[in-house]
């Protein structure tokens, strides 16, 4: 129901939603004293976005996103450790002096990334490439970009399924080794997706170009 409602909204409202959320996720902070309050706000908004994505997609998709995010979190933890140990400044706008705020800032960063995932994926769920066509040259490019994104998402799911069927990645997570194997093989899923997407991109770009030219011709007439 909610999906259909959002789908029927005009592109203007959908993009506006995207812009508003992006401002909420990446606000300008003038002082480090704002970090604790903002952290609470961010967690609340991430829950809302997660719920929205669940309603627009499925529980299964939500779990997949969470799993991918958790893998990223492992790598992120390693990077952030380097920042903390070297006492590097982590914010582009404020100088964080207190360690408590520094740790909090580093902790909310992956939450922000998760919120970005949910926002982007929810946007993809309610939008169609066809909506961009009326915006000329830029619209065509956006349309193709969006379709490429949809195909890459589908491709990634298929690669993951194929790898699960082959036993390359585990089907259940009962022991630490299963997580380790999944993390180790995750870059392979991405690499295969990119490799297979390259083939699709080449051919579809030509088909799309043909479509674009045809549209131009018919609008001239």
């Amino acid at each position: 129901m909610i999906k259909q409602y959002l789908k029927n909204l005009s592109l203007f409202w959908k993009v506006s939603f995207l812009i508003v959320v992006s401002f909420m996720l990446f606000p300008y902070m003038s002082s480090e004293s704002l970090i604790p309050a903002y952290s609470l706000f961010l967690i609340a908004i991430t829950f809302i976005l997660a719920f929205l994505y669940y309603r627009l997609s499925s529980w299964r998709s939500l779990v997949i996103v969470m799993k991918l995010w958790l893998i990223g979190l492992v790598f992120y933890a390693l990077f952030s450790l380097v920042f903390i140990l070297n006492d590097w400044n982590i914010s582009p706008t404020i100088q964080i002096t207190e360690t408590k705020n520094q740790v909090l800032y580093l902790l909310i960063y992956p939450v922000r990334v998760l919120a970005v995932f949910f926002t982007g994926l929810s946007f993809i769920e309610v939008i169609s490439p066809v909506e961009f066509l009326k915006y000329g040259r830029l619209g065509y490019h956006l349309c193709y970009l969006l379709r490429s994104f949809q195909v890459s998402k589908e491709q990634m799911i298929q690669n993951k399924r194929a790898m699960e069927m082959m036993g390359v990645i585990p089907d259940t997570f009962t022991k630490a080794g299963d997580y380790k194997q999944f993390i180790r093989k995750s870059p392979l899923i991405i690499a295969l997706t990119i490799r297979n997407l390259m083939i699709w991109l080449f051919w579809s770009s030509h088909i799309f170009e043909k479509f674009k030219n045809k549209q131009k011709e018919s609008s001239k007439k």
Partner: protein, 458 residues
């Protein structure tokens, strides 16, 4: 009459030499040949897709697409500027998210259901299909949508490359009707195809692409002698091998199994028994759940417990890794399973393969250098490679999903050679999942047809 005559060269090396095609109005032409790069490029040139002018400025991509960036020199050109073209992957032709968007955007149609109904109805797709997401369609259904579009365009020429293997019996009949209608409308249909036997009634002229040349062939020769002597010899070798072996042990038993995707019922009280050393041929229409069966065996779907037994245990008692030891699955889209990148990686792995005959098969069929990227392999080669790579000493069931898809005659010979060798060297059963291929009736296989949510053994 349309005419086209051209050369296509890649870095001064001729790939297509003096290709000459005369296209009479209201005719259907068949082009057959080895399913290689030249064949693909010929289809794409006729489809006005190739050559591409600019390649991305990335070395690896330039290398990957180098053959598509050649020089096209016309000798004679009386060919329309716009043609409909459908290649062997329907996904490349579908540019939007949902079926109605595809039709309305590509055809610039007003949103009237009756207009959509006429277009989809040509390929027996119900009007409810309009709301379906492209991602949720099966390969065959995507191809039907792409074909509906191709025939709906007002273009004089329609080029179809490798579309038949995607279609079920009904789809093939619909294609014949669509071609006949196009011919009646004075359109020209050019079909580049390996599985052309079902098209006999609509083909007016046939050509063969061989050694860079396109030559006229005798139509009757092509349709009356579809199999080479080597193929027939290989089929009898295969049949003999299956006949000689004992078939006592049961590998798989499915008992009164039901399965649905939401409200869409796939199986109802389905029962099936598979024994060792037997070839099974699982067929049925698009969307009847042929490939789903493989997904279920690998526990990719949630199903009722205690209904499927692999040897003496139920499948839920196996881990997926254990199932992989006993069942090897070569899917419809081999690129998804190809977790290696170069021939060298595969060669290294094959050295430690448990089965010596697999090493021999690999050395016989894959002589490329170690640096050779696997993306350069064609569909058939990818499937052959996967088959060899996935077998283990304990494999008892080899599932081949659409193995003959886009295989040319030498490809079929290779495939028959590979499966004969496997059956000779192992106690293994084959489950071939396929729509229909003219070679299948010759193979001594147990015919399993999925109809009305059940499997009928014939």
């Amino acid at each position: 009459m349309k005419e086209i005559s051209f050369n296509y060269t890649i870095k001064n090396e001729i790939l297509l030499n003096q290709i000459q095609l005369s296209l009479p109005e209201g005719s259907c032409l068949l082009i057959n040949g080895i399913e290689d790069k030249a064949f693909t490029i010929l289809g794409a040139i006729l489809g006005k897709i190739l050559p591409c002018m600019d390649l991305p400025d990335i070395d690896s991509l330039k290398l990957l697409y180098r053959d598509y960036n050649g020089a096209l020199t016309f000798i004679k050109h009386n060919y329309p500027d716009e043609v409909s073209y459908i290649g062997c992957d329907p996904d490349r032709h579908l540019l939007f998210s949902e079926v109605w968007e595809e039709l309305s955007a590509q055809l610039k149609l007003p949103l009237s259901k009756s207009a959509f109904q006429d277009i989809l109805g040509q390929f027996s797709l119900p009007v409810s299909f309009l709301d379906r997401k492209i991602d949720s369609l099966s390969g065959g259904e995507k191809m039907k949508v792409a074909l509906s579009l191709a025939f709906a365009f007002p273009h004089e020429v329609i080029i179809l490359h490798g579309v038949v293997p995607w279609l079920d019996k009904e789809g093939r009949n619909d294609l014949l009707k669509a071609i006949n209608q196009a011919k009646a409308d004075k359109k020209i249909v050019v079909i580049l195809e390996q599985e052309f036997h079902c098209l006999e009634s609509v083909i007016d002229e046939s050509y063969l692409l061989k050694d860079k040349h396109l030559s006229h062939t005798d139509r009757s020769q092509l349709f009356n002698h579809p199999f080479s002597q080597t193929m027939l010899d290989l089929v009898s070798r295969l049949n003999e091998c299956v006949q000689q072996k004992k078939k006592e042990q049961m590998i798989l038993e499915i008992d009164q199994f039901s399965f649905s995707y939401g409200s869409h019922r796939i199986y109802k009280n389905l029962s099936l028994k598979l024994f060792e050393n037997t070839i099974y041929y699982l067929n049925g229409d698009n969307g009847t759940g042929k490939s789903t069966l493989a997904n279920i065996l690998f526990k990719m779907e949630k199903t009722e417990p205690r209904k499927i037994r692999l040897f003496d245990r139920f499948i839920e008692d196996y881990t997926r890794l254990e199932i992989n030891r006993f069942i090897a699955y070569v899917g419809q889209f081999p690129e998804n399973q190809m977790i290696w990148n170069t021939m060298g990686e595969c060669r290294q792995l094959i050295q430690s393969h448990q089965l010596d005959f697999c090493k021999v098969l690999f050395d016989t069929f894959f002589t490329q250098s170690d640096a050779y990227p696997l993306v350069y392999l064609n569909f058939a080669e990818l499937k052959f490679l996967l088959t060899i790579m996935l077998l283990t000493k304990e494999t008892r069931l080899l599932i081949l999903d659409e193995p003959t898809w886009s295989l040319d005659l030498p490809g079929i010979e290779k495939w028959l050679g590979i499966i004969s060798t496997i059956l000779e060297n192992m106690n293994i059963s084959l489950l071939i999942i396929s729509h229909a291929h003219s070679i299948m009736p010759l193979i001594n296989a147990v015919n399993l047809k999925i109809k009305d949510c059940r499997i009928i053994s014939q």
